[in-house]
Amino acid sequence: METISIEGTPKTPTITFDTGKGFLEIKGRSIPENSIEFYKPLVDWLEKYAGKPQAATNVNIQLEYFNTSSSKCILDVFKKLEAINKNGSAVVINWFYEEDDEDMLEAGEDYQAIINVPFKMVQVAE
């Protein structure tokens, strides 16, 4: 079991994936022009993790901004989590949004409507 991480940049988020603890966090901004390339390693790690997941997998999504190009990749990540949830690991996705950021809350609700995994909407102060 290992911890995998990607350092954030002004256009891409910080990703931390502690496979031993079953904890994944995506934090910061996700506005790259080419998001497929950026999210590919994470999707691959999840694929690997799906073979031997922890009993519970906690996921924190704390994004300040994300573009529509990232939104499809985030959906791909959630689809992997959906499969992991189905195969016995209890997945919870914590979707963080800042107070008053209705657009971010709505974005979380869009995913919640598509993905069959428990979501928790978590409001944080600005």
């Binding site: 002004p10 256009k11 506005i31 022009e33 080419n34 998001s35 497929i36 300040e64 901004y65 573009n67 529509t68 190009s69 990232s70 939104s71 499809k72 990749c73 959906l75 800042e98 008053d100 950021d101 209705e102 657009d103 971010m104 709505e106 869009d110 409507a113 598509i114 600005e126």
Partner: protein, 181 residues
């Protein structure tokens, strides 16, 4: 030709243009523009809600330009590959204007898509967004046709656009986005 720079300045001043650019749209350029605009929005002490909305819509507008540069073949001259972008603020309303060349054969498809988006209510836009997000094919660049739907959704305004014929191969596509507080 001598450009009347004062006339140019005056027009920009009257439209309260905060930033404008004309030329080739690169990833580095977008990073710089976004950094400049973010500090300008901070200096204006905009509410976080407005700041985020403007920033988000700006990202989509600029990345639209970026992704569509390639549609105009690289062998074309720099003029044809060039695009224009402006952002201004008048009476608490932000205006983002973009313009870029588009191949004639792509005009009808884009026009239809934008007109269709303009027919949808807020609730229908939400459903359409989710449908495209979930079922839509992702283009290699990751655009996937969500940008315009997202802009319409976040601004709550109709997409205001125009196509001006240029020659037998190209038209000039312009988009005018309003973000009200």
């Amino acid at each position: 030709m001598m450009l009347d720079i004062y006339d140019f300045y005056d027009k920009m001043e009257r439209n309260n243009i905060m930033l404008s650019f004309k030329g080739d749209i690169t990833s580095e350029l977008l990073t710089s523009i976004l950094q400049i605009m973010e500090s300008k929005l901070d200096n204006l002490q905009e509410e976080p809600k407005i700041k985020k909305k403007v920033y988000n819509v700006l990202v989509e507008c600029l990345q639209n330009l970026y992704h569509h540069m390639d549609e105009v073949a690289p062998e074309q001259n720099d003029v044809i590959r060039s695009a224009i972008f402006m952002i201004g603020k008048i009476d608490n309303q932000y205006n983002i204007v973009t313009g870029n060349y588009i191949r004639k054969e792509n005009v009808e498809g884009l026009k239809k898509r934008l007109e269709d988006i303009n027919l949808l209510s807020k609730e229908e836009l939400k459903e359409y967004y989710k449908a495209v997000l979930n079922n839509g094919e992702m283009s290699m660049k990751g655009g996937g046709g969500l940008g315009m739907i997202d802009i319409a959704r976040k601004t709550g305004e109709k997409l205001n656009f125009n196509f001006s014929p240029v020659d037998d191969k190209f038209s000039f596509f312009s988009l005018n986005i309003k973000i009200s507080q």
